[in-house]
């Protein structure tokens, strides 16, 4: 695993939290600010469009009044035919915005004038000229300015047009139908028009400044571009041809809304050669001519201030996060630097250097507590180790003494085999494996009077030094008593008396003691509470001695021990053992048991004593499987070779 530091974890978690917090805050801020900007722009756009419309209407509205007044005047028939041109001239002279004006009559309205009669006054340079229009080549009855208001019986603003006669300026004509009374009936009699130059309109429109590249444009009722910063569009394109050229159906929809006199503020993605990108458009109709004005706000510029602030914010936040990381790093490092020293100290202490210098803590916080705990641990460990040293020394002394005791104990029992090379009638082999340094088991054998073989095996209650001392006492007593006595029961009884007296510690010993007459093979024995030995007759059959009825030695001073007798034949073997053999335990607490003993013996009936004991040891090892030995193991095999 990669090694990380505490400051890395803290910085990572704090940064993640801060970035999350920032993202949420920023999104909310961005959303609301954007909405606010859009709303402000919308209001601004509506205001701008209305303002521009008002400026245009300032010209168009009064211009509408002129033909309307003229029409009323004509209807009342105040004017004579001859006064029409002077009248029109005077109208022009007081209305500077009006380029020309016509009063066009229906065919044969004045019979003497024929089919056509249309007095016309117009500006030429600074002067006002006049003429009478209408002939075969100028059939005004079929012209829009005449025909449309006549048929629809309503005033009509013409589609703008370039006036070829008047210096190719953009013009529009406002026509109003007028009526007169003939035989008491009100009949349509003709059309009054004013021609308005739209040069001023282009000027007004070009004065509209929106952000960096925003602009205003004007569409006629047919969607023809009347004013636009891109001069190529003006009078050449309709919004619908531009939409088609750039394959933008949504622009066509916007155009339809515009020429239908609707108003709206909406987003639009334009991608014409002239302008592309996301835009916002506000459009509104002109009340007089039903043209439509559109103001365009480039989205990028609209939100430019927001984007600028965003960049600044981002820089500030990134810088802030770096600073925050640095400060956290510093703080955490300051706080945790003693920990590194503590870790070092702990390692040194573990190596045994208890007097290592702990880091100095000046604060009164958790670090101080850690310091106190460390310093306490350091002190206590020192004390503990000192005590441990003393204890270890004492223990080593005791262990050395115990080792010596064991050596002494082992030297007390015979351990040279074969013990009697000059007595061919008898062969013995024995082992004693103590569970602890010194044990409570014993075995012994010796020859009395040259032909009596005395042997004993026993097990002292308890273990360790007391048991070994008791064992030494028992062995010594057996030796001294059997100096004078050959009867096993007497030997055991005397031993019992001796031990029972002053047996303050209430220890006892199980003992099997036998005396074999080497001359005739008679074995007399007394079993004082010991495991029954096994007799192997003639290397063919093995039987266990009967269970004893006598209690272990050392319990009751006056206990009477009896003895039994057995005739041994040449080759008969006796296998003796202590309960360390039959009760050898494995890790599952299963005992080795008498049956196992008998089985091993049955498998080795003819084996010599050493081999039989080796086999028995192997059997025990296989059973316990390395489990710690809990009791002394003692075995002895005697062969009578009569």
């Amino acid at each position: 695993m990669k090694k990380t530091t505490l400051s890395y974890h803290i910085i990572r978690n704090v940064l993640l939290f801060c970035i999350g917090l920032f993202l949420v805050t920023f999104s909310v801020y961005y959303y609301f600010t954007r909405n606010t900007i859009r709303e402000t722009t919308r209001e601004n756009a509506i205001f701008l469009a209305r303002n521009t419309i008002n400026r245009i209407e300032e010209v168009l509205s009064p211009a509408e009044k002129i033909p309307e007044i003229v029409a009323k005047t004509l209807e009342s028939e105040f004017l004579s035919k001859d006064s029409l041109i002077p009248f029109l001239k005077s109208v022009l002279s007081i209305n500077n915005n009006v380029y020309g004006s016509i009063i066009a009559y229906e065919p044969d309205f004045f019979p003497e004038q024929g089919t056509y009669f249309a007095p016309y006054a117009y500006r030429q340079g600074d002067s006002i000229c006049s003429s009478v229009l209408g002939d075969k080549n100028y059939e005004y009855f079929y012209m829009d300015w005449y025909q449309i208001p006549k048929i629809t019986n309503a005033p009509y603003w013409s589609e703008p047009y370039f006036d070829e006669g008047g210096g190719n300026v953009l013009m529009t004509t406002y026509s109003v139908p007028f009526h007169t009374y003939k035989n008491g009936a009100r009949v349509f009699s003709g059309i009054v028009t004013v021609d308005i130059s739209l040069e001023w309109l282009t000027k007004i429109m070009s004065q509209v400044k929106i952000l960096d590249t925003g602009y205003a444009f004007l569409l006629s009722r047919n969607g023809v571009v009347i004013a636009h910063p891109n001069k190529d569009y003006v009078m050449n394109q309709t919004i619908f041809t531009i939409a088609k050229e750039n394959n933008q159906p949504s622009m066509r929809e916007t155009g339809r809304n515009m020429i239908q006199g609707k108003s709206n503020f909406e987003s639009a993605g334009f991608k014409s050669k002239w302008k592309s990108g996301k835009l916002w458009i506000n459009y509104a109709p002109l009340p007089s001519s039903h043209w439509s004005i559109g103001v365009i706000y480039p989205d990028k510029e609209m939100f430019a201030s927001l984007h600028r602030i965003n960049i600044i914010l981002l820089i500030l936040i990134v810088t802030g996060l770096f600073l925050l990381s640095y400060v956290i790093y510093k703080i955490v490092n300051n706080l945790t630097s003693p920990l590194k020293h503590f870790a070092e100290s702990a390692r040194l202490i573990a190596e045994g250097n208890f007097n290592v210098q702990l880091p100095q803590i000046k604060t009164e916080d958790e670090m101080k507590e850690l310091y106190n705990s460390f310093s306490y641990m350091q002190r206590e460990l020192g004390n503990y180790i000192a005590t441990l040293k003393e204890t270890t020394t004492a223990k080593e002394k005791i262990e050395s003494e115990l080792r010596i005791a064991k050596e002494i104990q082992m030297s007390m029992i015979p351990h040279i085999f074969p013990p009697f090379p000059d007595l061919p009638q008898i062969d013995v082999f024995a082992v004693l494996k103590s569970a602890k340094e010194v044990g409570g088991d014993l075995y012994d054998f010796f020859v009395i009077d040259g032909n009596k073989f005395c042997f004993a095996i026993g097990d002292v209650s308890g273990k360790g030094v007391p048991a070994s001392l008791f064992m030494a006492v028992t062995r010594t007593l057996v030796r001294s008593i059997s100096d004078k006595e050959f009867s096993p029961s007497v030997i055991v009884g005397t031993l019992n008396k001796s031990i029972s007296q002053n047996n303050e510690s209430s220890m006892f010993v199980t003992l099997f003691l036998g005396v074999l007459d080497l001359s005739n093979g008679v074995l007399n024995y007394t079993n004082a509470g010991h495991n029954p030995p096994v007799i192997i007759k003639n290397s063919r059959e093995s039987t266990m001695f009967e269970k004893t009825k006598y209690i272990p030695v050392g319990l009751f001073e006056d206990f009477e021990y009896g003895e039994s007798s057995l005739q041994l034949d040449s080759g008969d073997k006796i296998f003796l053992y202590t309960d360390g053999v039959s009760e050898a335990e494995n890790s599952e607490n299963d005992l080795f048991g008498d049956n196992a003993i008998m089985e091993i013996i049955s498998g080795n009936l003819s084996a010599p004593p050493r081999e039989l004991i080796n086999k028995m040891e192997e059997g025990i090892s296989a059973h316990v499987k390395g489990f710690t030995q809990s009791d002394d193991i003692t075995m002895m095999t005697i062969v009578y070779n009569g």
Partner: protein
Amino acid sequence: MKPFIKIPLILYFLLLLTTPVDAQISKITFAPQWIPQAQFAGYYAAQDMGFYKEAGIEVEIVHPSANIQATALLASGKADIISLFLVTGIAAKIQGLDVVNFGQISQHSAILFLTKKSRGIEKLEQLNGKKIGIWRSGFDEVPKALIKEKGYNVEWVPILSTVNLFMMDGIDAMTVMSYNEYDYIINCGVNEDELNVFPVSHYGYDVPEDGLYCLRSTYEKRGPELQKFLKATLKGWDYAAANKSIAIDMVLERMKQAHIPANSVHQAWMLDKILEMMDLSNKRAARGELLESDFLKTVKILNNSIKSKSNFTFTEFYKPLYK
């Protein structure tokens, strides 16, 4: 002299040397029947791509104005060749202008009756009793003949050239050219699905339109040149059909020079429709050929609509030069 002034000069002299100065090259003045637009893209292409020059003729294209019609240009000798609708050509001859047709370019009629769906006219017979706008300046014979044949009683409203009366709902229907006014109305924000159209061709009046005309005297004197002109013109149309955007640019250039409002969208539409009119796939005519059946059909229409009757035969009217 600066080196980059030298180079054009050298090139100029080289050009003078390599261009054969042909004293025999004959000049032809051609006048299409209307102001510059994609309806005449083939002629512009033949001129700009040098097809006329290749054929050994030098062609100047002049346009009529609102006041002077193509027939007047022909009559006054200001034009040697003009293009006219078949119906106009026959009418002119009936009225005494001794013209001959030496090539029929268009083979179909582009005339439609157009109404807004809002007027509720779903079938042709519903035009009965309605106000219909119609060109004041000609081309009115065919639609009028159809209405007359059907026996409908309609009020014809003469219109000079705009669609504004239609847009303002001053009339119920209007005769339009599929290549011109129809698209113009679409380009004024009316959607196609808001319109009903009744093409006269669907009612047995598929009368060919644009054809090439000259005075009979011109034909007799300059027949081979006229043939060259027709051949080069057809080549020009082939070029325009294959190179539409280049052809549109040629048209727009001429419209700009003539100070006519122009946009490529409308001109592209017009070129497509004009090329459709030249389609021969369901007609047994050669390119540039006028069928006698078409001539007779048109004469019949005219005899029903104007007072004077035709007193000439097909062969007197049509001089085939397409072979």
